[in-house]
Point group: C2
Chain length 382, copies 2
C-alpha cells in the first residue's frame, strides 16, 4: 500500500448551488460555457448559469456529443483562442466535462490535440475548469480523467492529468428531475461498474477501501430497486454516490481492473452503444471468464452487497445477481441485443483493441485479445 491521493475539487452540493459559481470563478475570467445537446436550455439549468455569470465576460459552445469527439472539441479550442477565453465552465454530464478537460489541455498545447490521447503529448498545463453536473454517472466532475473519441479513426481513448481536475463541481440533485429514465438508469449502472472496477480484483487487506466500495454498491442497488419512487432524497443520494464512485478515493492503494471499460469503449466507438450499456454487456461475461482470479472478492461482494449466504456457488451467484440487477433496470447484458452479426462485431472489437494496444488488460494484465474474445463470445448469450 503505497499511494498518493490528491483531489482538490470543491464540491458544491445541494439544491440551488448553481448560484454559487459566481463565488468560485474569479471576476476577471473570460468564460466559455461548454454544453451538449441543449437540454440545459429546457430544464432551467442554462437560466441559472446565465444568472450566476452576470457581470462576467462569457461565450457559449454547444453541441458536444455523447462520447465527445476531438472533431467537435477542436472547434471549441479554436473559439477559446480566437476570443481570448481563459476559463471553461462545463455544464453537462460526463461527456461535456470530459470534453472540457480536452479543451482545457489542448488550448495550452501548440500541436495536434489528439497527441494528448495517443500519449505523444503529456499534459502538464491546462486552463481552469468548473463543472455544473447535469447527469450523475461518470464522476468526471471531480476526477482528472477524460475519454475522447475520434470519428476519423473510430478510436475512443482516455487520458489523465492532475491539471485538468475541475476547480469546482456543482452537484444540484434537482437536475435529475428532468432526465429521461434511460439516462438515470445509465447513471446507476455506470457508477456501479466504476466501483466494481476498483473493488472486484483480489483481497488486499484494505478494509476501509472495501467498506467504502461496498457502501456505494449497496446504495446503488437500493437506488436501482427504488427507481420508481425517486424523490429529493433519492436524487441526492444518486448524485453523491456517483460522485464518490470515481473521485479517486476508493481506488487509492488498491489494484484496479478497468478491462470492462476498455472493451466496452470499443463497442461504443464501433456501434454507438451507450457507455453504461456497453459495460453491462461486457462485465458479467468478463467476471465469469476471470472467475478464478476474482472468486474471493466476488464471494465477499455477494455477502456484503447482495446479502447472499455462503455456498459453493457464491461467486457465480454474485455474478448472476449483478446481471439480474442490470436486467431489472431493463439494461441488457447480451451483445446480440445490439448487433445482428455477432462474429463480425467480435472480430471488429478485437481488431480495435489490438490497434489501441489494449492487449494486456485487467488488474493482472491477464486479459489478452484472446481472453477478450472469450469474454465477447460469452457476452452473446448475456
Amino acid at each position: 500500500m503505497k499511494f498518493s491521493f490528491y483531489n482538490p475539487t470543491t464540491i458544491q452540493f445541494g439544491q440551488g448551488q448553481i448560484a454559487s459559481i459566481s463565488t468560485l470563478i474569479e471576476k476577471d475570467k473570460k468564460v466559455l460555457v461548454l454544453y451538449g445537446g441543449g437540454s440545459i436550455k429546457k430544464n432551467g439549468v442554462y437560466d441559472q448559469v446565465e444568472q450566476a455569470l452576470d457581470g462576467y465576460t462569457w461565450e457559449t459552445f454547444g453541441g458536444v456529443e455523447p462520447n465527445p469527439t476531438r472533431e467537435t472539441l477542436d472547434k471549441a479550442v479554436e473559439q477559446m483562442r480566437t476570443s481570448g477565453l481563459d476559463f471553461i465552465l462545463a455544464v453537462g454530464g460526463g461527456s461535456v466535462i470530459d470534453g472540457a478537460k480536452y479543451v482545457a489541455a489542448a488550448a495550452c498545447y501548440d500541436g495536434d490535440g489528439w497527441d494528448i490521447l495517443i500519449g505523444k503529448h503529456t499534459v502538464t498545463k491546462a486552463l481552469p475548469i468548473g463543472a455544473v453536473l447535469t447527469l450523475p454517472a461518470t464522476g468526471s466532475e471531480s476526477n482528472c480523467a477524460s475519454v475522447v473519441s475520434n470519428k476519423a479513426t473510430l478510436q475512443k481513448l482516455p487520458f489523465m492529468a492532475p491539471s485538468v481536475f475541475p476547480k469546482f463541481a456543482v452537484l444540484d440533485p434537482d437536475v435529475v428531475k428532468s432526465l429521461p429514465e434511460k439516462q438515470v438508469v445509465n447513471g446507476v449502472v455506470d457508477a456501479f461498474v466504476h466501483v466494481c472496477e476498483q473493488y472486484l480484483t483480489f483481497p488486499q487487506n484494505a478494509p476501509v477501501q472495501d467498506g467504502y466500495a461496498e457502501t456505494l454498491l449497496r446504495t446503488l442497488v437500493d437506488l436501482g430497486n427504488t427507481i420508481e419512487q425517486k424523490d429529493d432524497v433519492w436524487r441526492a443520494n444518486l448524485m453523491w454516490t456517483a460522485n464518490q464512485a470515481l473521485n479517486g478515493l476508493i481506488g487509492s492503494g488498491v489494484a484496479q481492473d478497468w478491462a470492462t471499460h476498455m472493451i466496452g469503449h470499443e463497442l461504443t466507438a464501433l456501434y454507438g452503444v451507450d457507455h453504461a450499456r456497453s459495460l453491462a454487456i461486457v462485465q458479467p461475461a468478463l467476471l465469469k471468464v476471470q472467475l478464478d482470479a476474482k472468486k474471493a472478492k466476488l464471494e465477499q461482494m455477494g455477502q456484503k452487497v447482495f446479502g447472499l449466504a455462503p455456498s459453493e456457488t457464491l461467486a457465480l451467484d454474485t455474478i448472476d445477481a449483478i446481471a439480474a440487477f442490470y436486467n431489472g433496470l431493463n439494461v441488457s447484458t447480451s451483445l446480440t441485443e445490439h448487433n445482428e452479426s455477432k462474429e463480425e462485431a467480435i472480430e471488429a472489437v478485437i481488431s480495435q483493441l489490438e490497434k489501441n494496444k489494449m492487449v494486456a488488460l485487467g488488474e493482472s494484465q491477464a486479459i489478452t485479445p484472446e481472453v477478450s474474445r472469450s469474454i465477447l463470445d460469452l457476452a452473446v448469450a448475456g
Copy 2:
C-alpha cells in the same frame, strides 16, 4: 443536504514516503521544521526529514507540547519572522500539526495570535504547511482545524480556516513501530470518537456517509481487538483509518455533535488528561444522557458496527459495547480514575464551559451546562 466539501491536501501514503517531501516543497522555500518532545530524533524520522530537505534553507523549532500552548507557539512565530521563513513543515502528531496551523496563521497577522482562537481575528491568510505524521489519531494532517491551549487562562479552544489545510501530508505507517503502546491506543480511541461525533446524531437518509462511518468504526474495533499482533498491514490500516476519520468527508452534509470533545477539552485544560482519555470518560455518559435523541442511530451502530441483534435494550447495549471497547484497551471511562475530588472537578469544568461559551453543545444545541453536569455526574461511575 446542502454542503461544500473541499480538501486539497495531497496524501503521500506508504513506507518510505518521507523522502517525497523534496518533490512537494518548492525549492526556494525557507522551511521551519516544527516538532515536539524529540522522539523524532530517536526513531529515525528526523534523519529522513533532514535527508529530504538537503538543499533547502531550513531551521528547527522543537518542544511543541501535547495540547500545544500559544505561549510556546508564539516563540515559533517570532522565529519565522526573525529568520524570514515562509514554509512550516510539521513533523509530529496532532499537537504539532495543530500548532503549525496556529503558527502559519499567526505569522500572517499583526495582532495577538490568541485573537484567532477567541474569534476576534478571522484567518483568511496563512503560510503554507506540510505535515509528516508521526502519530495516527487526530486527522489534523488533512483537515483545516486546530486546537490550541492557553496556559495563562487555562483555555483550550479550536479554530478552523481553509487556508491552514496542509499542502501535503506524509503518512508512513512505519512511524507507528516506535510509538509507546499508550499512544497507539489513544490514537485508536481518538479516531473512534471522531467518527462517532459525525455519525451518532439522528437518522438523515445519508447511506453513503453512514456506510463510510460504519466502515471506519468496524475497522477501528478490529484494530483495537488485534492490537497485540500489530504488523505492517495493521499499522497501515490504523494510519489510513485515523486519517479518514477526520478529513471532512464523513461529516459532509450531516449533523455533527462534538459535545464530547468540548467537554473533554476542559478536562485536558484543567487536569492534563490525555485528549483521547478525556473523550472516553465523557462519551459513554453523554450518550446515556442523550439516549432519546440518539436512540435510532445507536441501534443502527449496534447492529452495523458491533453485530448486536435487535432488542429492547439495543441502544444501551451499544453504549456498553463502546465502553467495553475502551476498557478492553485499558482506557478508563470513569472520571474518578483521574480526579480525587469529583465535585470540585465537575464544578471547575462547568465553570470553564460557561467561560468559553460552550453552553449549547451537540447536534441540537441541547447540551446546556446543566446537561453537561448530569453527564459528568454519570461519568464518575464510568
